[in-house]
Subunit: 775 residues, 2 copies
């Protein structure tokens, strides 16, 4: 009886809070509440069992070591394709299959672990888990069949390898990739109709081209008949949509008669510009719609979990239910064991505004947000040299050096040095004078870093957010090491190691990047780009999945058909890529032989080239020649999936990230924290910290220049400054979620768990018009 089971499942999820828990149960309850709060904090959206054993298992399940382990096994599983036939680094079948079985065991173990902590009904209703199980079984079947056929020397296809990305997608940790896939799946119906209409338009134009140009006896540049076969025309016109054969496809008709170019211009405007923009609009619109729905779901789930936690810990004081201060402290310590006690004190001050010794419901519900806000605690420490030899460090000469380093001119001088360095790099380095200059520049850079370390407190200089300081130092040290290594090798063996030389060159040029830091406007753009970095990495996961599947298929289908042997293309075999079918083809003429599917790395590079689109018809044409035209379907399929869907999602991604970053203000919780920080007088002005620009000022404070202003309020948070990490460092997700949360009234309980889990984007509109409009 599924209905009854489900009701039971839901009941189990909402334990009736015993208002005055006996002492022996208290620890257990605290752990349970902490699990809820931690889920809310990290946006985990799966319900868990509430029995004591399950909670302990749940803590273990969420431990970072377990997550690292599972990602490790996923990496191993995916990279097996490098070692299997066709291999980059061949390994025997036995080794790779053993590794695969090991990975499958790990995945299965993780799944069993998950089943132990989740209510049965929820576990079995979740398609993710079913997917993983089916994939494990299919992979095992495939391994057995392939292994036994191999044993009798029959070569078959390892088809289950294309399923491997299922593990990457379906483990609960890859929420972002899964969401993008869901968003693609939901976009499919809308895209499909536009695509059909688009194909209809291509077919109509093909028919027209056949009638207009087919009987003219025109020839292409290669001397082949022009537009005589309807299938070829459809392919050529499809390629024209990607612009890869423009204007070549037009030239014969245009050379024949001026007016025919109108046909191609019309075609380009309709199919390339308008239809491709419509694809982008449809994909983007759906992406936004689903993103919002998911965010809404997460926001309600978070609220739901925080209420559960509150119900467990609440006690009645006067007329209202509250959580006592001691209980709150213990909870916070369990949820965030690494939090510093001044930070905890700060959070308590915010939650318990009136210092009444307890936290009320509204303030308690904010706990997950409070913990999520990155408060940078800055220890006010003096420079170690000042402690060590105060007299020397505070001498007038030393102070002069410090003031010099902090001066603008110091930065400008180094900008000029970088520019001169750039010119020297561009010049010929075989000139001995110039290679000596390289040593000079390197030492100048090292002196700069040493001077800065002398002036600023080292721990502040290498703070967590000081991206550019880290960048600088690492580049310089790496360049130093590489240059020394290169010189040593050179003088010892009279031989230049090409790899090390290349690395030295790249490092030398990367140093020039520092000039960006000096120009405010540039730094702002770069900071924005760095901040959307994590989002782009998620996207990288998505691309990896699609590429992997296509690479496996491509390797099975085209392995060995095209071979690259001779870098100088001198032998006749090398000139046709080892396949006589490619004689006189554009593929061989352009020397594309290395663009083949003979191993995973090469396949990825070909797929990258196909994503960039240009010349893809030549690549497709080459493989079509060696496979009797069947390959064209593979290449068109790849184009539809990657260029029409994925690249458009990527653009939607970036646009959304920019717009959200542009349009958002501080959240209410942040404002509360900031107000409290200011009240307690332990804040650093945001302006000073903007874009991490005036790190000088902060460092100056840290090194004690600003002196002690002896504020009384500051006494329990002594020696610490706080500031809220800039909103620029937050992800699009967090910003959107914050936007939606500000729409839920603080008292609102939200819909029930079942309702939340079944939200659909359609529900969104009538209920939350403002939220709908606001992003």
């Amino acid at each position: 009886m599924p209905g009854a089971g489900r009701a039971a499942g839901v009941r189990r999820l909402r334990p009736q809070p015993s208002e005055e828990p006996p002492a022996q149960e208290e620890d257990q309850n605290l752990l349970l509440a902490a699990a809820y709060v931690s889920d809310a904090q990290y946006n985990r959206n799966v319900p868990f069992e509430t029995s004591p054993r399950a909670i302990r298992l749940y803590y273990f399940y969420n431990h970072w070591t377990m997550q690292v382990a599972i990602y490790f096994f996923i990496c191993v599983d995916l990279s097996l394709a490098l070692f299997e036939e066709p291999a980059l680094f061949p390994l025997p079948f036995l080794a790779t299959s053993l590794a695969e079985v090991l990975c499958l065991t790990a995945f299965f173990g993780r799944l069993v672990h998950f089943a132990k902590v989740t209510p049965q009904m929820v576990f079995w209703k979740d398609t993710k888990n079913i997917c993983i199980m089916v994939t494990i079984v299919l992979t095992l079947i495939d391994l057995i069949i392939y292994g036994s056929l191999e044993a009798v020397n029959v070569h078959s296809v390892r088809w289950s390898r294309a399923l491997r990305p299922v593990f990457l997608i379906n483990f609960p940790e890859s929420r972002q990739i899964r969401r993008t896939f869901r968003s693609i799946r939901n976009t499919l119906p809308d895209i499909l109709y536009v695509f059909l209409l688009f194909m209809f338009s291509v077919l109509m134009f093909s028919l027209m081209a056949l009638k207009l140009f087919g009987d003219r006896g025109l020839k292409t540049v290669e001397g082949l008949p022009y537009f005589t076969n309807i299938l070829d025309i459809v392919f050529e016109l499809y390629v024209l949509v990607t612009t890869a054969n423009s204007p070549d496809v037009m030239m014969p008709a245009y050379n024949f008669n001026w007016w025919y170019c109108l046909y191609f211009i019309t075609y380009t405007i309709i199919n390339t510009y308008i239809f491709m923009s419509v694809f982008l609009a449809v994909v983007y619109n759906n992406y936004r719609k689903h993103l919002k729905n998911e965010i809404r779901k997460l926001a309600y789930l978070k609220r739901h979990k925080m209420i559960e936690a509150f119900n467990i810990l609440k006690v009645k004081v006067g007329t209202e239910f509250v959580v006592m201060e001691a209980q709150w402290r213990r909870l916070a310590k369990v949820v965030a064991p690494h939090i510093s006690s001044p930070h905890l004190e700060l959070l308590l001050r915010i939650s318990d505004e009136g210092q009444k010794g307890h936290v009320d419901k509204v303030n308690f519900l904010r706990l997950a947000d409070l913990l999520n806000i990155q408060v940078v605690t800055i220890n006010i420490r003096r420079h170690p040299l000042e402690d060590w030899m105060p007299r020397v460090y505070r001498s007038s000469a030393s102070l002069l050096v410090q003031r010099m380093v902090q001066h603008r001119i110091f930065v400008w001088v180094y900008d000029v040095i970088i520019l001169i360095n750039a010119i020297f790099i561009a010049l010929d380095e075989r000139n001995p004078f110039i290679s000596y200059a390289e040593w000079l520049f390197l030492s100048l850079y090292i002196i700069e870093i040493l001077l800065k370390l002398y002036t600023y407190e080292p721990r502040a200089y290498f703070g967590r957010r000081q991206f550019w300081n880290w960048f600088d130092t690492l580049i310089i040290i790496a360049a130093l090491v590489a240059t020394v290594a290169n010189t040593t090798i050179q003088s010892a063996r009279k031989y230049n190691s090409q790899q090390i030389l290349d690395i030295v060159l790249i490092l030398r040029i990367l140093r020039l990047l520092r000039i960006i830091v000096s120009i405010q406007r540039f730094r702002v753009i770069v900071t924005t780009l760095i901040n959307i970095g994590p989002t782009i990495l998620t996207f990288g996961g998505l691309v990896l999945v699609v590429y992997y599947v296509f690479a496996i298929i491509g390797m099975e289908a085209f392995h060995g058909k095209v071979r690259f042997s001779d870098p100088n293309f001198t032998s006749p075999d090398a000139l046709v890529c080892g396949n006589p079918a490619l004689k006189d083809s554009a593929f061989a003429r352009d020397r594309y032989c290395k663009n083949n599917f003979n191993d995973l790395a090469s396949s990825f590079i070909v797929l990258m080239e196909l994503t960039v689109v240009n010349q893809w018809h030549i690549l497709a044409g080459g493989f079509a020649l060696v496979t009797h035209q069947a390959a064209k379907l593979y290449f068109i399929g790849f184009h539809i999936v990657v260029v029409i869907l994925i690249v458009n999602i990527f653009i939607a991604f970036i646009l959304e990230a920019f717009f959200v970053a542009y349009s958002l203000e501080k959240s209410e919780v942040e404002t509360a924290i900031e107000k409290k920080i200011q009240e307690l007088g332990v804040g650093i002005q945001e302006e000073e910290m903007q874009d991490g620009k005036l790190v000088d000022n902060v460092d100056a404070k840290d090194s004690g220049f600003s002196g002690d202003d002896g504020d009384n309020k500051r006494k329990d948070l002594k020696g610490l400054y706080f500031r809220i990490a800039s909103k620029k460092y937050r992800t699009v997700d967090a910003l959107l979620q914050q936007m939606f949360e500000s729409e839920i009234a603080p008292e609102e309980e939200g819909p029930s768990l079942d309702e939340i889990l079944n939200f659909s984007p359609g529900d969104l509109y009538p209920k939350n018009p403002n939220f709908e409009n606001s992003a």
Copy 2:
């Protein structure tokens, strides 16, 4: 004293309304009020003089004949480039210069006319007018210099021709194009910094490429040295950003060493994908910001003008100021002389809800919106045949035919016929059986149209919104005429006219488009596309301006350098495009000789090819060879302007059009009208009319099938049905404006005229957070 003059100007703009105007002034006042309302209705945003003579001139200025005339002269002026050296159709210099002077006179006259109706201060503060005057003077100077030099046989440059688009941009009627230009101008600072950073990145990568690949002695496919010259590298890498030379530029390095492909992949991800997306994001963000500011300005101006009109006409009734019904009627008749009296009656019913004989202020302010809403009035008329021979038309055989035609199966049968027709078209038409079949299909289509005309009322069938009916009929008639003409010529002279045959072919294939109408989902997409059509046309104006300027420059710079002579490329001169410098170049090898700047039409086609981007490095390379590399700057400039700015604006355009179309609801004014229509019982259900799909039902009603239901309320609007034209037919502008207007309180007077005219986008955010977020 500008300050005093300005204050005077403002005072003149706001005449103190005399509360009880003497009879002789009344007509004058009505005209003035009507001018205000008409400005509000058409969103004209220039203040005008209020003296009686100026108002009459203003009416004349806004008359459609004047607008058509000015556009005619703009067209003539722009198309002069077709007849001037280098000409497509050469005309003597005297003829073209006379035509140009004539156009300039017309422009000057229009400007003088405008000066007469506008307050002096406003006229002289407006850069548009200054621009036009300066351009007229410069053109005259250029004409005189060129003419006198020509007289002494010295050839000089007609540089002022590049200024001609100024007239298209700056006349007040091209508001949309001007707005896009303003938006581009405002985007420039933001784009500039991203562009500089992008160029910095390209330079860094170039330096790296020089060091990594320069000394390897690699060769390109053509056997040229690979990546040895820093300028060539920068150009090649810039081309790679456009993807036009991918993967060719990578292949030599990749063939040499596997690892070097990482350099190119990194480059592509950073510069092609990320930077190009950032360009789109910046352009789009600015476009939205400025669009909103302009819309806000328009909305406030509209409100302002309606208040002026109200102040002129108001009389005091009881405690409030109102406009009397008679006055309102006369006003509406002046503003919209072609409005039908039932329609006017409907609007009055809405404005004077209580039928009190006067219209209050809030309702009066809605007048411009009411007039703007397209209410389709449908006359209930019987089929003419029914009047003419009722017995035959109502006979059972005739009714059977009518029912048959209205049936779904009728549509399906014709869909099948179209598909069969498509197959016949694809087959070889020299087969006599197939060419006879063509006549069969043509007659089947004609029968279909006749049957429909028999069943449906002809005036309803050819209603204004019945796009597909018009399309069908025109295509079939044109095909009939062309086929008959072709057959006549063929039988008379045994000769096929190629042009007519081509037209017949195209018409025959366009007929297939009808299949789209049968599929609901397709029709929706096509309707959306047709609706953003006007927006795309505006955009076409923008592209025309940019192309024109670049074409004129290109013609002056590259005229005659590349020549196309022989379509079969048999003579050695034809093989190098008439220029020995092109020997062995990719430009000549790909037979691009016809891609030249020898006349306006060819130039436009080359620019179109450059917009599509593919192979643009070959085009640029060809012209670089014949001009000693200088041409590359022209081509890179074109790429930056058109591909980075204009194409991104186009995408922003389409995205915005889609989003606004998706997200908007009915406006409050429309709801009022609809309510009233329903109340009066003269409405047609919206569902019935959705997408113009069930035209059958409406026609059925029209032809009297639904009978008279004898509704009493309907009596004063007898014989008419109303419905609001679907919101799909509205432009993005109108939708956005409506969105913003709903935020202005009905009583709000808005800021003063001066404030409105000086709005900047920055003001927008604090004041209207909701509006800011809502689009």
